[in-house]
């Protein structure tokens, strides 16, 4: 038997190593999922009708760069479909009797663990499949089943554990630290733009309850300041809830069970605050997982809005005051698959970017056909596979970015940002700055006469953001020292471990 620890050390937690009987437990989980969820239908239709034409391979950025059989989308999906047919269809049972010797083994499951975390579930390959076979769906299901036998990247489990059973969010930021960070960001806005922008906390009855990727509080002060500034100038009614302020949902990447719990926690926080809508910050997977709110909570659950949709609406209605000088540097936009693949959010960011930049260029291909950053499906959290992510998995993206010649690469997604920064570092794209959309909006937002001299006399926008970032780190350090007792080191400890995973 292969030694799972040596081979897959990064995604198998300790307790798995002692576990036996994995094939049986896998099949039990499979049976329960077929019974209680809806995967039976696509599995059945795909395995009856799949044409094996091989066209899907051409669309996967991984297969494009490795050319390995195991990276053909249909080849990977077959790993799971084979189990489905053998153990859950009469024809498969018959074939087994007639001598098709397939039996689910431990080694086979190890192979699946490896295979299904080489796919980012970006669903690009669905576009070329004549049958519209959704390999992202198969990967999603396979990962869930694997997670039920504890084959799952440690980074994802550790963060989810922190969120559901620890401090309450994936970066383990305690409430006092959150409040401090918000205050700090308010001061920062005051200093640099001379405006009194609020980060409202625990306001009851607000229209929007805000759930960014919680790591933004540590890593993306500009994005958050941009978010708050937009709310300020548009007079938006919003709040951050101290009961739950994390939009991250790694359940989307490895388990519907976790996904449901995290989604329900978001809804619970909105209800607690008597808010009306879920406002997701700049994060692709946080948005897509929140779109599952009605799935898990029924049709009466609160509506989900992505921040870019909010800002674009304000822009369209003429409620977004912008300075006359647009951003002059060349800007390009990365479509996060989770919001763009199905065409749900592609135009809003472009409307905004065209309004605030004078040199906006598209990557090709773009929108629904855009290449994944290469860190999707939670793989960006796994630092051990950085070379894989920025190499074979990210090469296409690097080429796309290089071809634009852009200075700013806008990626409205915490996952994409981390991955794209690493891609740029590892592929010699040093001139590219990966930023959020609202980072740029903040630069050109016109706070009106009230903002006083800061607009003209203040430091240049770039300088501001550089300072803000440096300060945010200092403040994180400061916050850590201020938060009481045992909590602080834990936060920091967890931070170094977890923010890697954001």
């Amino acid at each position: 038997m292969t030694d799972p620890k040596a081979k897959f050390g990064y995604y198998v937690e300790k307790r798995t190593l002692e576990a036996t009987d994995r094939p049986r437990r896998f099949l039990e989980a499979f049976a329960a999922v077929l019974e209680h969820s809806s995967y039976h239908l696509p599995l059945d239709v795909y395995s009856r009708a799949g044409a094996r034409c091989g066209q899907c391979a051409a669309d996967c950025q991984l297969y494009q760069s490795t050319g390995e059989d195991r990276d053909i989308p249909c080849h990977r999906s077959e790993l799971l479909m084979r189990i489905y047919r053998r153990y859950f269809t009469p024809a498969g049972a018959l074939a087994a009797r007639l001598g098709d010797g397939f039996v689910l083994t431990d080694e086979y499951l190890d192979g699946m663990g490896e295979a299904y975390y080489r796919c980012t579930a970006c669903r690009r390959c669905k576009l070329t499949c004549p049958l519209g076979i959704d390999h992202g769906l198969i990967t999603h299901l396979a990962r869930w089943l694997l997670a039920e036998i504890d084959v799952v990247p440690k980074a994802l489990v550790v963060a989810t554990r922190e969120q559901l059973e620890g401090v309450g969010n994936t970066s383990a930021i305690p409430v006092p630290a959150l409040k401090d960070t918000c205050e700090f960001l308010e001061e920062e806005l005051q200093e640099n733009f001379n405006v009194e922008v609020k980060f409202p906390i625990d306001v009851e009855g607000a229209e929007y309850v805000f759930f960014p990727a919680v790591s933004d509080y540590l890593l993306e002060p500009d994005t958050l300041m941009g978010n708050a500034a937009v709310m300020h100038v548009t007079g938006g009614s919003w709040t951050i809830g101290t009961g739950n302020y994390d939009g991250i949902n790694y359940g989307l990447f490895y388990s519907d069970r976790m996904m449901e719990r995290i989604v329900k926690n978001e809804v619970a926080e909105v209800r607690r605050l008597k808010g009306r809508k879920i406002l997701i910050g700049e994060c692709g997977h946080a948005t897509r997982s929140a779109w599952f709110v009605p799935t898990f909570c029924g049709p009466d659950a609160p509506e989900v809005v992505n921040f870019m949709q909010y800002t674009a609406k304000a822009l369209r209605e003429g409620r977004l005051p912008l300075k006359r000088d647009k951003i002059a540097e060349r800007v390009t936009y990365h479509d996060p698959c989770n919001i763009a693949r199905a065409g749900r959010i592609t135009e809003e960011p472009r409307e905004i970017l065209r309004a605030i930049c004078s040199d906006f260029v598209e990557m090709t291909p773009n929108r629904t056909e855009n290449y994944c950053c290469g860190g999707g499906g939670g793989t960006v959290s796994v630092d051990e596979i950085r070379a894989f992510r920025t190499g074979p998995m990210g090469r296409r993206k690097a080429e796309q970015i290089r071809a634009t010649g852009a200075t700013y690469l806008v990626a409205p997604c915490a996952n994409c940002k981390k991955q794209l920064r690493e891609i740029c570092e590892d592929n010699g794209l040093d001139q590219v700055q990966v930023v959020g959309l609202h980072d740029l909006v903040l630069k050109v937002l016109d706070f009106g006469a009230a903002s006083g001299e800061a607009r003209d006399g203040g430091p240049a926008a770039d300088e501001v953001s550089r300072l803000a970032k440096a300060d945010a780190r200092q403040s994180a350090e400061h916050v850590r020292r201020c938060t009481e007792g045992g909590e602080a080191p834990r936060w920091l400890g967890a931070t170094t471990e977890n923010t890697a995973g954001i």
Binding site: P42, G54, D69, E260, A342
Partner: protein, 233 residues
């Protein structure tokens, strides 16, 4: 020999044809029922129907796909067009229906049928070559993928020979028997193999969306079924 041909055209054909119709109808019925059940159980019952319709039409009439991979797509489209039109609209086939059931429909001229038959044969060979040489396709091909293609090509090759006795090195009767029987074989294979995509394809785009519509509380129900409600993350 003539008796064999009559047998193949008569009872065997009736059996194969009914088998195909019933088998495909079963596929459709099961799929429709299951899709309906999924949506009835789903927490989120909204579906992006316009996008689904557009994707479905795109792949039923895949003009757009040709731009993506011109060689494969155009081959595949021509192949499918030819193998759909010829069996249904060949004058000789319609005559059989008229003889048996008294029904008929307009036929395509035999010259056109000839061209389409040759097209079917040529494109089938091209697809076989593609299957054997294109790396990704070869890697995921099962034996049945090669055999099904052969089975589909056979009635066209034999049919062409029966229509052009001058070119046929074999006896007319044996060619005709092989033609009818291979045609029957394809009918039987329709519901049993991936050929069922003939009826399932119009629904697959929809199925791919419906598959994401899980029942309310499906996550926790699975947890309960596995006895994991109280288990820590």
């Amino acid at each position: 020999m003539q008796a064999w041909i009559e047998w193949a055209r008569g009872p065997v054909f009736i059996f194969s044809f009914s088998f195909m119709v019933l088998g495909l109808a079963r596929h459709v019925a099961l799929t429709v029922w299951e899709a309906g059940r999924t949506m009835r159980r789903a927490g989120d019952r909204s579906l992006p129907l316009v996008a689904i319709g557009r994707a479905t039409l795109k792949w039923l009439f895949p003009a757009g796909a040709i731009a993506r991979n011109a060689l494969f797509s155009s081959t595949s489209v021509l192949f499918h067009a030819a193998i759909l039109v010829v069996p249904i609209f060949l004058a000789g086939h319609i005559a059989l229906w008229t003889r048996a059931f008294g029904i008929g429909w307009p036929a395509i001229p035999n010259g056109v049928a000839d061209v389409l038959t040759l097209l079917a044969i040529v494109t089938a060979v091209a697809l076989a070559v593609q299957r054997l040489t294109a790396r990704a396709t070869r890697a995921i091909s099962r034996p049945s993928d090669h055999l099904v293609l052969l089975a589909v090509a056979l009635p066209f090759a034999t049919g062409f020979l029966t229509m052009h006795p001058a070119l046929n090195p074999f006896s007319f009767e044996s060619t005709m028997l092989l033609h009818v029987m291979s045609g029957n074989l394809v009918l039987v294979l329709m519901p049993l193999t991936k050929l069922s995509h003939a009826v399932l394809l119009p629904g697959t785009q929809l199925i791919s969306k419906v598959g994401w519509h899980w029942p309310l509380d499906s996550g926790s129900r699975v947890g309960a079924a596995l006895g994991k409600e109280a288990e820590r993350v």
